[in-house]
């Protein structure tokens, strides 16, 4: 959340101008501001900290190489950067789904200790960790197309139109996949006794 607040205050155009000129400090500021957000996005698709780390690094290399293409008139830096990151993470996810031997979804349980909740009691902290672990496990069980749509809509909070732009599929298909994905997720969470009446 701190990163989100920081992104609202930085002057993206000025930072990019300094980066293009070769200012290391400006590039470091971009990396520190957006790395957590991009790392978490990558983790939701890979379910592995190692894979998410590698993917985050790849995303930043690509961003660094394409900084020349950034045009401040077409939107702020955070939007441009996250759009690029999303496209790369989804491309990687699709690639791994086509080649299952590259799948990383094996260490959800091992790495959930990273989750933290500042200012909450130990018991609540534990419950939230458990909840986060179960939600990630439930998301992992969704089919690829439903999983992508659910993550983009209910975790990344993209609009239907933004999802259409990222996935390049018709709006009707996006809506249908979100609906089906939500229902499947709810049923999985019910079986796991995470959500029940």
């Amino acid at each position: 959340m701190e990163a989100l607040k920081a992104t609202a205050t930085i002057n993206g155009a000025e930072l990019v101008r300094r980066c293009r000129a070769g200012d290391g400090a400006a590039w470091e500021e971009i990396v520190t501001t957006f790395s957590r957000r991009i790392f978490n996005l990558a983790y939701r698709f890979t379910s592995s900290t190692e894979a998410a780390e590698d993917l985050t690094q790849e995303v930043f290399i690509r961003i660094y190489r394409t900084l020349d293409q950034y045009d401040a008139k077409q939107g702020d830096l955070a939007n441009w950067l996250m759009r690029l990151a999303r496209n790369l993470v989804i491309d990687d996810y699709r690639h791994r789904q086509r080649n299952p031997q590259n799948s990383f979804a094996d260490d959800v349980e091992d790495h959930t200790f990273h989750l933290h909740a500042v200012g909450s009691s130990a018991q609540k902290d534990l419950e939230r960790r458990e909840m986060a672990k179960q939600v990630q496990e439930a998301i992992d069980k969704l089919p690829m197309d439903l999983r992508t749509c659910v993550i983009l809509r209910d975790i990344e909070e993209l609009t239907y139109q933004e999802i259409v732009d990222v996935l390049k599929i018709p709006e009707g298909t996006v809506k249908s996949r979100i609906n089906r994905g939500r229902i499947e997720l709810a049923k999985i969470l019910r079986r796991m006794k995470v959500v029940s009446m």
């Binding site: 959340m1 155009a13 101008r17 300094r18 293009r20 000129a21 070769g22 200012d23 290391g24 400090a25 590039w27 470091e28 990396v31 520190t32 790395s35 957590r36 957000r37 790392f39 978490n40 983790y43 900290t49 780390e53 985050t56 690094q57 930043f60 290399i61 660094y64 790495h111 990273h114 989750l115 933290h116 909740a117 939230r128 960790r129 909840m131 986060a132 939600v135 990630q136 439930a138 659910v150 209910d154 975790i155 909070e157 809506k175 249908s176 979100i178 609906n179 089906r180 939500r182 229902i183 997720l185 709810a186 049923k187 969470l189 019910r190 995470v194 959500v195 029940s196 009446m197």
Partner: protein, 262 residues
């Protein structure tokens, strides 16, 4: 005391006023008299309580706990089964229902199915809870693994100490120029601007001998001065004219040979 006794009512009057007393329809004085009688007479007091209880029970009977939505849904499913919704359709419309985009006829059919179908009745609540779980999950972001920033910086700018990498003055200047926007913001003016640039170039290249506008003006002044001197010489005498005509002509003028022979 006499006054108070005079104001008391008897049991038959009490019964007569009882309904109006419970409905608060009596004037203040009569209301007080009925209340006082109920306190004094144990039989009428008991009667008052019985009537109160009976009225309460009647109210409870007239407002049944059963949901009208459920009752309506049951009636419609028995009388007009064609308006019922299948479970698959119910699931298909779930997100539209949550987003508030269901048209009225479908909305009512959807709600009736939600009330009647035991299999589907909990689903909307579960979906809402799972969406909330996703939002909660989002708020609990993972921290960045140690060393990731250093790795990214090493892979992009070749060093972990980004502060040591300074932008050169030239590149800074180039980027600053690049950041400036073209002053003509309306694209239709671009051809006009191009025509004007060409006009100035052609004008300056053809009229002036040295290709500059300032040179053109300088030559104009020289020519004007020379013409003035020639005119002055004509007034002073012919010899001077011949002498002056032998001078080199100024660019853009010519010397008439026939005039020279004469």
């Amino acid at each position: 005391m006499t006054y108070e006794t005079e104001k008391l009512i008897n049991c038959s009057e009490f019964e007569e006023f009882l309904t109006d007393y419970l409905d608060n329809n009596l004037d203040r004085q009569t209301h007080k008299q009925v209340a006082a009688h109920a306190l004094l007479c144990p039989l009428c007091h008991a009667l008052l309580n019985e009537v109160k209880d009976a009225v309460k029970i009647c109210h409870e009977i007239s407002a049944p706990k059963t949901s009208f939505v459920k009752l309506e849904a049951r009636i419609l499913s028995m009388t007009a089964p064609q308006t019922a919704m299948a479970c698959a359709d119910f699931e298909e419309h779930l997100t539209d229902y949550l987003d508030g985009f269901l048209p009225a006829p479908v909305f009512h059919r959807w709600e009736r199915h939600a009330v009647l179908c035991e299999k589907c009745t909990d689903l909307p609540g579960e979906v809402v809870r799972s969406i909330a779980a996703c939002y909660t999950y989002k708020m609990d972001e993972l921290p960045i693994p140690a060393g990731l920033h250093a790795k990214i910086l090493q892979a992009t700018i070749g060093t972990e100490k980004a502060q040591n990498v300074r932008a050169s003055w030239t590149l800074n200047w180039i980027e600053w120029i690049r950041g400036l926007s073209f002053p003509i913001s309306i694209p239709q003016f671009a051809p006009v601007a191009m025509i004007m640039i060409f006009a100035v170039l052609i004008f300056s290249q053809t009229v002036s001998a040295d290709g500059s506008i300032s040179g053109m003006y300088q030559k104009s002044f020289e020519l004007a001065g020379q013409t003035y001197k020639q005119g002055a010489d004509v007034v002073l005498g012919g010899e001077t004219i011949k002498q002056k005509l032998n001078q080199e002509s100024v660019n853009g003028t010519f010397v008439n040979d026939e005039e020279e022979k004469r």
